[in-house]
Structure formats: structure tokens, C-alpha cells
Amino acid sequence: MVPRSPPSGTSVSRRSGSRGHPADPAAGLPGNQVAELCGQRRGDCPPPVSSFVSVGAMKLNKRSVAHYALSDSPADHTGFLRIWGGPGTPTTPSGTGRRCWFVLKGNLLFSFESPEGRAPLSLVVLEGCTVELAEAPIPEEFAFTIRFDAPGVRPHLLAADGQAAQEAWVKALSRASFGYMRLVVRELEGQLQEARQSLASHRCATRKAIASRYSAGHCPGRGFCVSKKPSCAWSSAASSWYCQAESEEEAGRQSGPLGKVSCFFGPQSWALGFAVPCDKSYSPGWVPIKVFLLRSHWGTLPGPLSSPSRTLIAALPSSCAKCFSI
């Protein structure tokens, strides 16, 4: 699909000179309200007419957006591209276009004067678009287009320096949408859940002998570890106990999706053992227990079961302790 005419750059209703819109929706000055109503800048606004419908410049938190563009969050793709229709270029694809440095971050495509540019020249939000290799009669080599579903929007024409770059850009841009990322996240979320379920049922089956010693019911209580290393929260499920990470250090450098306590359990963030009451005193409402570790995320521990390295002092809420006949 070939664009019929080259892009004219950004939406035509805005002049590049119209700046000065603080991202403040509640600026209460009368002049500002009038300006918003009739959609023009302060100062050149005719008297408001109630039936007059015009669209004012949409505000955007540009400063934060630019900060994001310049921040060291890694870019998904970068490189030089030639563009037509930006400032200082004719609107027909004559000449070689303007060469800019492009940075793709998430679903946002920024352009800069150069890799050292200190302020982005432009932003293209990549939602609801299709990216395709440009075909004849576009005479440009290695060109591609970004076409939007939105009505009345002209496609953006860009060209790379070579075929590999062209293909890499088309690939990167066509997968830049939020929706695509969300799809993959949901898919993996489902897969993780399945993996956990199959792991849990596997464990239940093999640990039955040990678990049956303590009449465990399903007790989703939480306890916590007193002698840490690392500190963790205990909870019990089915006939085994699982330790859930409560801190980022425990879980490793990556925190869970919610940035707080999550179910990090897997081979590297769980501990398995059986508990007996112990004589340490703890806070009211808590039952101190000594756990004999069979296995844990910090490795299979050597030594006899009763040795200090194989035991852990923890505390369960009293309600949970009942489930475990402690």
C-alpha cells in the first residue's frame, strides 16, 4: 500500500509557534478559559460564540515526555533515518529528505537532530498504526511508511540507510505497540501460572509422606521468619509449606510485577520443611516454630537435620498453627 502523498509532518491544525500551554487543565484565568473555548491562543481570540466548535491545542506533559526520551532507559531501537515533511523540508519527497537520529522507546518514536541532541524534535505515538515497506512509485530506496488508522492522517514516510536497517526498523516499529507488549505479558502470565500449578501438584505428590505427619489443611496464613537469611514470609498451602519472598533482595534484582509481595515461588525462592513447636517466645498471637529444612532456595543443606544450618526459627499466626496441629 503506497501513500498517495508524502506526509506534511505533524497535524496541520497546529502552528509550531503555538507554545506556552502548561499542562495544567485547571488554569483558572478567565483569558485562558476563553482561549480554550474558542480554541485559539490567548490574545488572538474572538468573542466566544456558544455554537462555535473548535478544537484547541491538546495539552501534553511535554517536559516529562522529553525527559523520558533523554533518560537512560534503554531504547528499543535507534538509528539514522531520513524523513520527509518535517520542519525545513519540502512536502514532496524530492531531495533526500532530512536526516535525523531516531530513538524508539516503547510505543514512542522520537527524533533528534543528532545522537547528542538534547531535546527531541518530534514524537510519533505508535498506537493504531501499520508499518510497511514502501513500494513503487516511491523512488526512495529502503523506505517504509507508518500508516495510521485514524481518519485524515497522512502516513509518515521514512527511509533507512540500507536494507538491513530498513527491515530492522519495520520489525521494531510494527511490534512497538502497547497492545503487543500486553499480549505477550498475558501469555507469559498464563504460562507461569500453569508452571506453578504443575510444580505444586508435583510437590504434593512426592511430599505426602512427610506432610501427613502434620495434619495440614489448606491454610493460607502468613508467618514470617525470625532467624532470617534471607528474611521471608511463610505461608502454607495444601500439604507443603512454601516460603514467599517479601523483599526485593530476596527475590533477586528483579522485583515482582507489583513491586511488593508476590508469589515468587519456584526453584529459587522457596523452602520446604516440617515444623515443630519450639520454646522461643514470641509476640502474642504468634506461635514460634522450628522448621527443619529439607530443601530451600538457598540450596540443599548439608549436615544432619537437627544441625543449626538445617533449622530455621519462624513464627506462624496462631490461627495457622492450628491447621498444622502445632
Partner: protein
């Protein structure tokens, strides 16, 4: 900095993750709360006058901080200027919690972290890279090295105020 406003307006018409009428107050000192229709679409928060179809504005939600504010409200601020807050008033604590949760998860960077986390966990549990079957395991956006190093910002321009 120019941006594709038309496309962003079209985005504001897409199905929203969350939409509600909330009180909204800008970050400028002395600004007054106004009723706005607030709509969360992908990583943008659009706000409209309650009787208008075209958005007044949008906030990109990357590198933002969402905090609950007493009573029954929340604020959004951005990493580079945490004192500059957009305030929102909810009609109930539940609504407030619903919005803060949704907004915290609304950024592309949050999704990227989630994805990398899930990928890692699945790999540890099953020994297999879940992205391989889709043929996307080499994509830059899914690599561990794609996580931003918080607390550092490079080349932030003092000319940001003169964006156009």
C-alpha cells in the same frame, strides 16, 4: 517538540482501561479542582471536559509516581520533578485504590519489567525460554539489559522548557 496530535486524539477514543469523572487539579500553585472525565488508554491518561468529546490534554505515564493522597484522592508526579503533582479526587476509597493500582501498571516500562520477570521465572521453573516458541526471544525490548537503571538521568536538557 512536535507530536502527532491527531493520532493521539484518535487514541483517546479507543476503549479505555478505566474511565471516570474525577476532580482534577493541575500542578500549578493556586490551581482549582475541576470536574474532568479522565480516561486511561494504554500508557496515556486523557482528560476531557465532562461535556466534550475532544480531550483537553493527555499525560504520558512513563516514569511517573502515583501516590494516594488523603482523603480519598491520588496524585501523579514525574520522576524529574516529584513535587509537581497532578491531583485527582475520587468519590470513594475503593475508586481511589482502583485508579492508583491501574495507573501504576499503566506504563510500557512496567509491562516490560513484568514480562522480563515472567520470562525469567518460567525459565527457572521449566528450563525453557517461553519466548522461543514465538520466535521473539532476541528482541531488544525483552532483554534483561532493557531494564532502566533508576536514579540516573543522562543529558537532561536545561532547555526542556523551550520545547516546541
Amino acid at each position: 517538540m512536535r507530536y502527532n496530535e491527531k493520532e493521539l486524539r484518535a487514541l483517546s477514543r479507543q476503549p479505555a482501561e478505566l474511565a471516570a469523572e474525577l476532580g482534577m487539579r493541575g500542578p500549578k500553585k493556586g490551581s482549582v479542582a475541576k470536574r474532568r472525565l479522565v480516561k486511561l488508554v494504554v500508557n496515556f491518561l486523557f482528560y476531557f471536559r465532562t461535556d466534550e468529546a475532544e480531550p483537553l490534554g493527555a499525560l504520558l505515564l512513563e516514569r511517573c509516581r502515583v501516590a494516594q493522597e488523603e482523603p480519598g484522592g491520588f496524585s501523579i508526579s514525574f520522576v524529574e520533578d516529584p513535587e509537581r503533582k497532578y491531583h485527582f479526587e475520587c468519590c470513594s476509597q475503593e475508586q481511589c485504590e482502583q485508579w492508583t493500582e491501574a495507573l501504576r501498571r499503566a506504563s510500557y516500562e512496567y509491562m516490560r519489567r513484568s514480562l522480563i520477570f515472567y520470562r525469567n521465572e518460567i525459565q527457572k521453573m521449566t528450563g525453557k525460554d517461553p519466548l522461543e516458541q514465538f520466535g521473539i526471544s532476541e528482541e531488544t525490548r525483552f532483554q534483561l539489559s532493557s531494564l532502566p537503571r533508576d536514579g540516573q538521568s543522562a543529558r537532561v536538557s536545561s532547555r526542556l522548557d523551550e520545547l516546541d
